[in-house]
């Protein structure tokens, strides 16, 4: 949670925006129960299934209340000499879901991995520019990379629970490995598993191997694992691409709940998914940010022709 302004609660808003917010949530619910095969194209713009910006782009007053959780300033990322991310300025608002879309190889994942400094784990890779977590530059030489990763969690493409650990130990791994055992570990694990919507399914078999769960459960276990560290931001790098539609749906519903607690950045290849879960969507092409805005706008009236071509399936 950002100290400079909590997420706007329903009660904080004036009646107009409250109804707008509720409408947005209703839409989100509708959208998330819609068949996953539903195509969002320019021609389908009439029935907007997106969650939409729950803050409404035009509502400046409400927007100001939402803090900026992460701000990228002139971010460039390299693999050796090759520049993969070519200067990006972008903001991720607190307690919102921001989707990053774009064709394969456009630098979405690389950009996201720069936020918690996982990019530099790849031999020869480095990043330039600034990534501000609230007002702290995570690339400041004085900043401990380990602390950055505690504040910015990550969920990967393939569910990857630790194979040697039980369900309980998987979730407890974050607090244990980062030597932050303050508080009751059992309590932490339970609340993380509840947060990931997995508690009811695994409560009676916490000692079983995490790898024995189904793919969708494993991915929710991974989400619980990152929640247990109590991050402010969670980065999701195509979290559903290895899952079936039903498991995907569960993760998407989860994302919608999680944004009450954390800021979410989700990289996705699936444009319907972006439309279903994201408040705002950013479109990237060839290492550059083409356009960012409320999801509804990106999918219905994008300002850049390249965005329109992409979301209508003309390339990518």
């Amino acid at each position: 949670m950002t100290p400079d302004g909590p997420a706007p609660k329903v009660a904080d808003l004036d009646p107009d925006s409250r109804s707008e917010l509720e409408r947005g949530q209703q839409q989100a619910r509708d959208a998330s129960t819609a068949p996953p095969t539903r195509r969002i194209t320019g021609s389908a713009a009439g029935h907007q299934p997106a969650a939409g910006s729950r803050l409404g782009s035009g509502d400046a007053g409400v927007e100001a209340k939402a803090g900026i959780a992460v701000r990228l300033e002139g971010l460039r990322a390299f693999y050796g000499e090759a520049e993969q991310v070519k200067g990006i300025d972008l903001e991720f608002r607190a307690n919102e879901v921001t989707a990053i879309i774009g064709p394969s190889g456009c630098g979405k994942s690389t950009m996201v991995r720069c936020i918690n400094r996982m990019h530099e784990e790849i031999p020869g890779a480095h990043a330039e520019g600034r990534v501000l977590l609230e007002d702290l530059d995570v690339y400041d030489p004085a900043v401990d990379v380990v602390a950055v990763r505690r504040a910015v969690g990550m969920v990967f493409q393939k569910p990857n629970p630790f194979p040697t650990m039980s369900i309980f130990d998987n979730v407890a791994a974050g607090p244990r490995l980062s030597s932050r055992r303050r508080g009751d570990l059992r309590q932490k694990v339970e609340s993380a598993l509840r947060g990931a919507g997995l508690w009811d399914e695994v409560a009676d078999r916490l000692d079983e191997a995490g790898a024995g769960l189904s793919g969708g459960q494993q991915q929710r276990l991974c989400i619980a694992r990152s929640l247990a560290v109590e991050p402010e931001v969670i980065l999701m790098d195509e979290p559903c691409s290895a899952l079936d539609p039903i498991a995907t749906l569960k993760i998407e519903e989860l994302i919608d709940e999680l944004k009450q607690r954390v800021t979410i950045v989700i990289v996705t290849h699936n444009m319907q998914q972006a439309a279903r879960v994201a408040d705002r969507t950013a479109f990237m092409l060839d290492g550059k940010l083409v356009e960012v805005g409320p999801t509804q706008e990106i999918f219905t009236k994008p300002s850049d022709p390249r965005t329109e071509d992409y979301v209508t399936g003309k390339f990518g």
Partner: protein
């Protein structure tokens, strides 16, 4: 039926030609014969070991030291107790030296050195070390620790020679297993805000442990059967000795000495000792297999 007619037509188009059938049979036979030839010496060794070795086995064979008395019939030549215990002691110390160092080097190579110049150099020298004949390790220790210090043979000097022999095997096998640990596991642990050393200790090593144990036990088995590094480092003695600073008997050296004896009973003792050594190594391999079967990385 017209459908049936069509299907025989198709069958002739898709049928295996007689020439290919012949080639297939030829290749299969060749491979089978090769396997059989390779198995012949193995079967013969096991056969002779059992036939000659089992005859030498008795309770006193395992519970008495060799007496050194081989000339007067009627007096006992003794058993191989000191050799069994000596081998266990020497190899245990060699393992205690080489396994932590070897695993440490492997961790450095995989987790830290990666593609650096130094890592490549280390890998090159480890490979060179793997190819060094075992007698050279004995010679090296002989020159450095016996001639060099003006002292004499000792069990621990044999252990160091064996440790040098084991080191490259441990490093290489541990490195291969560590490389099998998925990078995604390291990433997800790092992304949780775990420091690198904790990731290695709590995630990478437990995942790699069963596989690493297999490699380590194979290195131990290899060292247990080596004669050359012990010949002029630990020497040989008759008495059971628990002091690694003194002379120490060992199975390979005992076999080496006994088999050249003119006395039949002593040669038979060599067979018994050889069978004992093989059984010990077999047990070790069995343990390694059982552990690796439980490995999650296979």
């Amino acid at each position: 039926m017209s459908a049936h007619g069509a299907s025989t037509d198709r069958l002739s188009r898709f049928a295996v030609s007689p020439a290919r059938r012949r080639r297939d049979r030829l290749a299969r036979t060749g491979v089978l014969v090769g396997t059989a030839i390779a198995l012949v010496p193995l079967a013969l060794i096991v056969y002779y070991l059992l036939r000659k070795g089992l005859g030498a086995w008795s309770v006193s064979f395992f519970t008495t030291d060799p007496t050194g008395n081989t000339f007067f019939g009627g007096s006992s030549i003794g058993g191989i107790k000191s050799a069994i215990l000596g081998t266990i002691e020497i190899v245990a110390l060699a393992s205690a030296i080489s396994i932590p160092i070897g695993v440490g080097v492997a961790i450095w190579l995989v987790e830290y050195g990666r593609d650096s110049w130094l890592a490549h150099t280390v890998r090159f020298f480890v490979d060179v070390l793997t190819g060094v004949p075992s007698i050279l390790f004995g010679l090296f220790i002989y020159i450095v620790l016996i001639i060099g210090t003006g002292s004499t043979y000792a069990g621990y000097k044999g252990s160091i020679a064996l440790a040098l022999l084991m080191l490259p095997i441990v490093i290489r096998s541990a490195e291969v297993i560590l490389l099998l640990v998925p990078a995604a596991l390291r990433e997800s642990a790092l992304a949780l805000g775990a420091p690198r050393w904790r990731v290695i200790l709590n995630v990478v090593l437990p995942t790699a442990l069963p596989g690493m144990l297999t490699g380590v036990l194979l290195a131990v088995a290899r060292a247990a059967g080596e004669t050359a590094p012990l010949l002029f480092t630990a020497a040989a003695t008759l008495k059971t000795n628990f002091n690694l600073g003194g002379f120490m008997n060992s199975l390979p050296v005992q076999i080496y000495k006994d088999v050249t004896s003119p006395t039949t009973a002593v040669v038979n003792r060599a067979w018994g000792a050889a069978l004992t050594l093989v059984v010990m190594i077999l047990l070790l391999n069995l343990v390694a297999r059982l552990i690796s079967r439980r490995s999650r990385l296979a």
